[in-house]
Symmetry: C3
Subunit: 258 residues, 3 copies
């Protein structure tokens, strides 16, 4: 174990929720190495959080505990779970937030967090980040195995997510799956298969060719790039493709030119 805990939540920084989770962790493991990975995730948006985790966790050292709390169903029937996927550990609600992790590691194992030895004593029903997830993450960071937390969860919740599209024939049609804070649109079209000359269509506009950088076109011009997550991205140089073309679900078509 590394003692490293990467935290993802929609708690923001205006309230006490994010700080309290850290206090609880450090009360159990004073040597935990806490990292704010993403603390201003969009409220209640499990799908977006899942995408952020997908693009983050493989860049952390093995045995990092990824603590993810975007949890609109807290206190309802949804289970709190701990997950082992390869050498990576996860703690959070069973609401689909780990969908991509399960896809990346089909041999994952998941467990319900129910052993009271690893949660706070007075567990309420509205702040499981404090009462269940933070203490469970702290114990994992100390070397406790996920299986010690509770019974196995065979079929955790999976979100339906857009499958990767590869440009093989003349045309590939995909969608924007994520808009980042700069307004760049990340698609589900694999960047690897795309070689110029191509023409890209989005929301009635056409972009000639795929480029190497956001700034390869004039300021204010739309540009298509091979994005850092391995997928085609649509951007506007120093502007917002989100505002110009729309967000998640916007159709993107790539056509080979000859």
């Amino acid at each position: 174990m590394s003692g490293l805990i990467a935290i993802y939540s929609d708690f923001g920084s205006r309230d006490y929720f994010a700080g309290v989770m850290k206090g609880v962790i450090l009360s159990t493991n004073p040597d935990a190495h806490l990292v704010d990975s993403a603390r201003e995730l969009d409220s209640f948006d499990v799908r977006r959080a899942a995408f952020v985790i997908k693009n983050s966790y493989l860049f952390f050292p093995p045995q990092t505990v990824h603590l993810a709390v975007v949890d609109p169903g807290v206190g309802s029937g949804r289970r709190p779970i701990a997950v082992q996927a390869g050498e990576n550990l996860f703690v959070g609600p069973d609401n689909g937030i780990f969908t991509y992790v399960f896809k990346d590691f089909p041999s994952f194992s998941a467990y319900e967090i129910e052993n009271p030895a690893y949660t706070l004593k007075a567990t309420g029903s509205t702040f499981h980040g404090r009462d269940i997830f933070a203490p469970a993450a702290a114990h994992l960071s100390l070397g406790v195995k996920p299986a010690e937390l509770g019974r196995a969860v065979e079929k955790p919740v999976m979100l339906e997510v857009s499958e990767t599209v590869i440009l093989s024939a003349e045309t590939a049609e995909g969608v924007a799956v994520y808009a980042d804070a700069f307004g760049n649109l990340i698609s589900n079209i694999a960047a690897d298969g795309i070689e110029n000359p191509v023409k890209i269509e989005i929301a009635g506009a056409f972009i000639d060719g795929v480029s190497d950088s956001y700034s390869s076109r004039a300021r204010g011009a739309a540009v298509a790039v091979r994005g850092s997550s391995g997928f085609l991205e649509i951007a506007v140089n120093r502007g917002s493709a989100l505002e110009r073309f729309g967000g998640e679900g916007t159709k993107i078509i790539v056509r080979k030119r000859t």
Copy 2:
């Protein structure tokens, strides 16, 4: 001492203020363990900051130094203070930000930070976070006692805060004392005393019964829950009770039903 310093401020993350405080601390105690507890507190809102600290500090390990800088009166007559309350340490302005700490620990001791051995040499009048509070917190994290910082402060500033209301007779009347970033309203009515059947009134609307989770009602419906801070909360499932009912000071009435 634990070396742990939890930071609360309204400095945000767009400027250099929050970072500079950390640099100053680490220049004095390179082994300090810094935790961003709440770094986007509302500007100048001492009352809200006091509530955040109230709900945070007891979840941190003993000997944690809680460094709190929401300080609209910086450079005026208000004193910089260090506080010992039980096994918890606090550093910040004497403007009421530690009101709830003083109530929790009536045997607290407070000291004015005036010993120049524990502040920066060139102390200006507009950024005491850097010049006074950060270095004082760093020294406390190294084991310096609050009493070494300066003379005792017998009567630090206390904000007038709403007293806890307990549902004993047929009716309890309280107010919203805090709205979190999700728009949930935290009241001053103790959750412990409330058992169904009850009816709750807020801003002309009525909620039947107290529930276990925000999502126990339909999306968009108002819900009353026993909140994680021990008080009755009014929420709107995936929406904002703040927008629907109003913020701090909004009247909330709980009536027993028979």
Copy 3:
């Protein structure tokens, strides 16, 4: 070396970019001490970022690595650089973000980051924070020398910045160079030279005298203070001078009175 890495970026906290940089650093140096110095810098605003770094880095311990990523030209021709300036280390794009560092330490040395031993293997063109800057910073924090990263850069990009104005004769004329999140305007007029009685003019309004604190005037009144960065600041007590008088470039005149 101290292992300390202070991070400045416009990546915010809604996305995975800031977290991924941390994961990459910790994968190379698990003992790195990461500090969020400013993680919500204004998007693409290199000038503002340069000012934040100017006012931050000297407060950190020697050998701190300052990792700065505001990088609208990522993937274009602009070089990634590492800088040694006195006992301080810097990593970021060669786009002027270190302008003030070069002015503070004319004997600085800068190097292009091109040695593949110190970057990620699969370097893309849109996220150099992850692929180049984070790994380079991690290696510097382990004791690698900047000169090992690549060839010397003789003339890194410098922004044109307002020179410091000193009140020597009867009048000094300067401008607002930075507006902080509270709406305070920091000028380029040295605070040291200003002694009452003076009269200050900004956007057609007049302020009598320079004060010691933001709250030395009535709530809502404009006030001129000797700011914590060593320059004259214009503020509005509990309000925003930015909204009242305008932002960067607004003219400020100080006149001695007799």
